[in-house]
Amino acid sequence: MSTDVGQASGPAPAAGARPPRARRQLPVPYLLLVPSAVFMALLFGWPLLSGIMEAFQNPRGGFTLANWERMAGEPRFWEAVRNTLLLTAVVIPIQFVFALAMALLLHAKPKFAGFYFYVWAVPLAISDLAAGLVWLSVFTDLGYLNSVLVNLGLAEHGVSWLNYQNPTSLFLTVVVAEVWRATSLVLIIVVAGMQVIPKDYDEAAQVLGATFWQRLWHVTLPLLRPSLQVALILRTILAFEAFAVAQALTGRNFPLLVGETYEWSVNLQNRAVASAVALVVLGMSMVVAVIYLRALRQPDSVGGAR
């Protein structure tokens, strides 16, 4: 059942030289996979199932929808749903346009490209908590942004960006921090995708007189489709998971779904409701993944880059 890659396509003598494998025990590849499969079953499969059970159980172990009713009865929950969806819907398009522009800049091979790439990739390794704290130093009342505004004479005392009475500026600060933190991931995926596109297509289009925008729209983007699809799914799911950014910047003034599960589980010690909210996040992630996979499905006849 198991064959070596080399045996299937490699030269015959090398394959013949190897003694036949013992048939009594599990074939080697399965032996190698067993530890990881068991580990993931224990730490992914089991908690997933018990989380679903927990969300539908009352304290005596019977079936109930009370946890869901309690969750839905909380106005903050709906606020969190709205904020999460709104943040994702605003941040993702900005990130993709921004990341594409950055990738095209790097593709044009400027001087110091290595340095630029380093700086642009740094947020990739910065957690959302750290990103929130970084931007807190900018947006806080006596922070750097207000210092600049006052120094330039644009405002007398600065603007209280993070005041809960300014929902718009509150939202915008979170958007800026998220764009800053998570565009790098899209950038890396897009740059990696661009590297495997043969130059010939672009050059051919150039010879045929296509403008820059025509080449971008009709040549580069279609060839990037697999990379963009992966980046879109991954980024959207990760965007649903953002919470520490908002916590660091706004405290509890900008609730996000994952922040609410944290709140239910740690501060309110109600794991059942926390599980219900967590399942909402899971459901949203799955719906989004399916929608993207359908919407961005490769036309069958076109092989694309891969």
């Binding site: 064959t3 070596d4 890659v5 080399g6 074939p27 080697v28 590849p29 399965y30 190698l32 996979l33 990881s36 580990f39 993931m40 730490l43 992914f44 908690p47 018990s50 927990e54 950055m102 800049l105 044009a108 400027p110 630029y116 990739a121 740094v122 947020p123 990739l124 390794a125 910065i126 957690s127 908590l129 750290a130 704290l133 970084v134 130093s137 900018v138 806080t140 922070g143 750097y144 207000n146 210092s147 890396i188 995926i189 740059v191 990696a192 590297q195 495997v196 697999p226 990379s227 799911i237 998971e241 520490a244 916590q247 660091a248 994952v258 740690v266 967590a278 399942l279 899971l282 992630s285």
Partner: protein, 293 residues
């Protein structure tokens, strides 16, 4: 003599069409615009890191001043010292390091064999296993960590380093497997076969030939795992109470800590990222490019 001297003059006299410098100028202008755009993006991406560094190295007095100067006026370690000496921060830092190392060891121990299997063998279920790995990345961390808190409570593992190591290892396992697989694919099969032809067993060939060649890539995977663990906030905060990791400690004390504490905490969390990307910038594209799909 006159003819010799006049020759260059005559060449110059020939009506040459004026050199069209427009394309060259256009090229120069494009290059300049390119640099301007790159510098603008770099400022947006890099300047906040500079600001948090500046904030972390300011004295309490400078931090309270307003409007603040964007240039370092007096470098002081007062803020950082206060952060490091506040209760729970140093133990949390040590926990974070221990958990990071534990996570990368466990993830590599379990993940590298699976990566090798995916890279070297064709077997039934290989494609579906890879698909399964990709799907697990779509599982939100919350969905796992909240039920696991219950499981660990009953197992007596709650609030322990081991509990967080287990969760972080599980979270990073799919990525570790996919990265190590791509590393093993890049080690030519021929050298491994040659070693076996010269009398090595399969395991010896792996240990003496494949491992040394794969080591840089494996190190990259290890660093990646470490950073993933270092950055993870939610599971660490849900699964611990007294044995916090650094991010969990910072997160749970956000609401009742002064701004100086938060800035220093943010800086402490950012520094490893700077080092990580510096070490890994060659591998980033390979890692994401080849493993992500």
């Amino acid at each position: 003599m006159t003819t010799v001297a006049s020759r260059p003059i005559r060449v110059a006299d020939v009506e040459l069409p004026p050199v069209d410098t427009a394309p060259l100028r256009r090229l120069r202008r494009r290059r300049a615009l390119l640099q301007v755009a790159c510098i603008a993006v770099t400022l947006f991406m890099g300047f906040p890191v500079y600001l948090i560094t500046l904030a972390a190295f300011s004295s309490r007095q400078t931090l309270n001043a307003f409007p603040k100067s964007l240039l370092p006026s007096a470098i002081s370690t007062e803020t950082l010292n206060a952060f490091l000496s506040s209760t729970g921060v140093l133990p949390a830092f040590l926990n974070s390091v221990a958990i990071g190392i534990g996570t990368l060891a466990l993830a590599l121990l379990i993940g590298a064999p699976a990566g090798y299997a995916i890279a070297r063998f064709v077997f039934r279920g290989r494609e579906s296993y890879q698909l399964l790995l990709l799907m697990t990345r779509a599982l939100p961390i919350v969905v796992l960590s909240i039920p696991l808190a219950q499981v660990f409570l009953t197992a007596g593992l709650y609030d322990s380093v081991l509990a967080v190591v287990l969760v972080h290892a599980a979270l990073s396992l799919p990525t570790t497997i996919l990265i190590t697989a791509s590393v093993f694919v890049s080690v030519p099969r021929d050298v491994e076969e040659a070693a076996q032809l010269f009398g090595c067993t399969r395991f010896e060939a792996f240990r003496r030939v494949v491992v040394p060649m794969a080591l840089p890539g494996i190190a990259a995977a290890a660093i990646f795992t470490f950073v993933l663990s270092w950055n993870e906030v939610l599971a660490a905060a849900v699964l611990t109470l007294n044995n916090r990791t650094l991010p969990a400690q910072v997160l749970t004390s956000l609401s009742d800590s002064p701004l100086a504490f938060r800035f220093a905490g943010g800086f402490a969390l950012v520094v490893p990222a700077l080092l990580f990307i510096l070490l890994m910038r060659r591998y980033l594209l390979n890692m994401w490019g080849s493993t992500i799909r």
